[in-house]
């Protein structure tokens, strides 16, 4: 097979372009892709352990979009397109496309707002609408959440923007609480002292704001002690799970028990008459003077 054309020859199916120019365009695209790839790898290699993952991903996206825009600006003149005219045409086109694809543009604009407003960043534990999990990526059109079960969920940015967002790690610290029930026979002051010591011994149970521990309720089966603790937002769940068992163990070690639900039942006197005695059984042994429980 013989190719009979020179670099200065026009392309038959695209007369405004020469073969040499097409090769140049292909070369520019390949070069841009290579530069983008090399920059991405270099940035990941050098900065992964030095900046936050969310900032790193944002930085890489900015670099890649910059390379893409530069590439387009280099290529566009070969198609006899003037940038000024392109902008005017682009304006009209964007109106038409906008009407035709409202939701896509909505997602795009929402994505840009999310990037600037930053109510969430990559790595945050969040609830977006009914989806709870960790944000793994924020793209122009969608936000990716990995649920706590490890399931991939893609949420269009328009939904993210209009949904109620709960970000569990947006603040430096957060509070959690336990309700610890002890029996009515146990000393609540002693229980509070023990719980306070256990909480104090945990490095991440913050000194300030100080923990709040107090008798909160006289419940049906127990005296309820409220324990409120502040912890760094990044580790609060670990602290919560770690401390609860330590408190239980330490209370048990000191003879303070957490009671099962129980109910005291009082019978009226006349019920005493219905007690059936076995042969040889003493009536006084079978029941107290006034009641049976």
């Amino acid at each position: 097979m013989v190719f009979d054309f020179g670099l200065d020859d026009q392309i038959s199916f695209f007369p405004s372009l020469k073969w040499g120019e097409l090769l140049y365009i292909v070369f520019v695209i390949l070069l841009a892709a290579t530069v983008s790839k090399i920059l991405t790898i270099y940035i990941r290699k050098t900065l992964t352990d030095k900046v936050k993952l969310s900032q790193l991903d944002l930085f890489i996206k900015v670099i890649n979009y910059a390379v893409l825009i530069i590439t387009i600006l280099i290529i566009v003149p070969f198609f006899n397109v003037e940038l000024g005219a392109l902008l005017v045409a682009g304006g009209f086109a964007s109106i038409v496309i906008g009407i035709a694809s409202k939701s896509v543009l909505g997602n795009l604009i929402s994505g840009l707002f999310l990037l600037f407003e930053r109510p969430i960043t990559i790595g945050d534990s969040v609830n977006i609408g009914s989806v709870g999990g960790t944000v793994t990526d924020i793209n122009i059109f969608s936000t990716i959440v990995k649920t706590y079960d490890g399931v991939f969920v893609r949420i269009p940015n328009e939904n993210v923007f209009t949904s109620e967002i709960t970000n569990y790690v947006a603040h430096e610290a957060r509070r959690f609480e336990y309700v610890i029930g002890i029996t009515y026979d146990d000393d609540a002051n002693e229980a509070i002292r023990i719980i306070r010591e256990v909480v104090w011994s945990h490095p991440f149970a913050l000194k300030d704001p100080s923990p709040s521990i107090y008798v909160d309720e006289f419940a049906d089966s127990s005296v309820n002690i409220m324990v409120r603790i502040w912890a760094p937002a990044t580790v609060w769940w670990d602290v919560r799970t770690d401390l609860l068992w330590k408190i239980k163990v330490e209370l048990s070690k000191n003879g303070i028990e957490m009671p099962f639900p129980q109910q005291v039942i009082w019978f009226q006197n006349e019920l005493k008459e219905r007690v059936t005695l076995r042969p040889g059984e003493d009536r006084a042994q079978k029941a107290g003077p006034d009641e049976h429980t």
Binding site: H171, E172, A173, R174, F204, K207, P209, W230, P232, T234
Partner: protein
């Protein structure tokens, strides 16, 4: 204990049992303290073991870069420059050096850790909390394995008396020197009754002290890390 050693080394003191031994062409690092043991296996043709105090912000795990030293309130007169002597907790870093590179093997400490929040939950920072006594001269009985001397130069630039009960420092800028004494020097410039700026000096307290390998500088981006901390949530 601090210094540079060959990759065949052992040390026992106050419940600490630390060793690195060649074993089947590898090196086995083992450290036991307070009932907890850490082991690492090194594939190395040789190198050196470096043990020195590091920035005390790594245990039980790294969650912040800020150290808050709290002391009984002091009132500083307007325009005064005073030096006070505090302490800071020691965390000990074990590094292996080979072929021009440093690898962190382990960090341990005899001290308990406690963290606190400086400022509000939404605008504040998490900080390692350390209680200290403010003295007008350095404490003489500091155990270099457990406590370091923090010299704090306080300058009150305001025209008012200012009460100070804490200093918050950015650990990524901490410069630690070690020898018979572990020390670090810092300054605090009081800008108002509620605001101060703090940072570290890069200098030894005594002759013969060596500069410790800085953990945060090794991890951080050279020239980008913060050097000063603005205490704008109270003094």
């Amino acid at each position: 204990m601090y210094g540079t050693y060959d990759l065949s080394f052992s040390y026992q003191k106050d419940g600490l049992d630390l060793s690195i031994e060649p074993q089947d062409g590898k090196y086995l690092y083992r450290r036991t303290l307070n009932g907890q043991t850490k082991t690492r296996t090194l594939l190395s043709s040789g190198g050196r073991l470096i043990i020195n105090p590091v920035e005390p912000l790594n245990l039980p795990k790294e969650i912040c870069q800020t150290l808050l030293v709290e002391f009984d309130p002091l009132a500083i007169e307007p325009g005064a420059e005073q030096m006070i002597y505090l302490t800071f907790p020691i965390e000990i870093g074990v590094f292996v050096a080979g072929r021009g590179n440093l690898e962190l093997l382990d960090i341990f400490s005899w001290n308990n850790q406690k963290y606190t929040l400086y400022g509000s939950s939404e605008k504040g920072v998490i900080a390692r909390w350390w209680p200290a006594t403010a003295r007008s001269s350095p404490a003489a009985d500091l155990d270099p394995l457990k406590e370091g001397l923090l010299s704090l130069e306080i300058a009150n630039t305001t025209r008012e008396w200012v009460d100070i009960s804490k200093v918050v420092l950015d650990g990524s800028a901490m410069k630690i020197y070690y020898g018979d004494l572990v020390s670090s020097q810092a300054w605090m410039r009081v800008l108002s009754t509620m605001v101060a700026e703090t940072s570290f000096y890069d200098r030894a307290s005594r002759d013969g002290q060596k500069k410790a390998v800085e953990l945060f500088t090794a991890r951080g981006l050279a020239g980008v890390e913060r050097q000063r901390f603005l205490m704008d949530r109270g003094l």
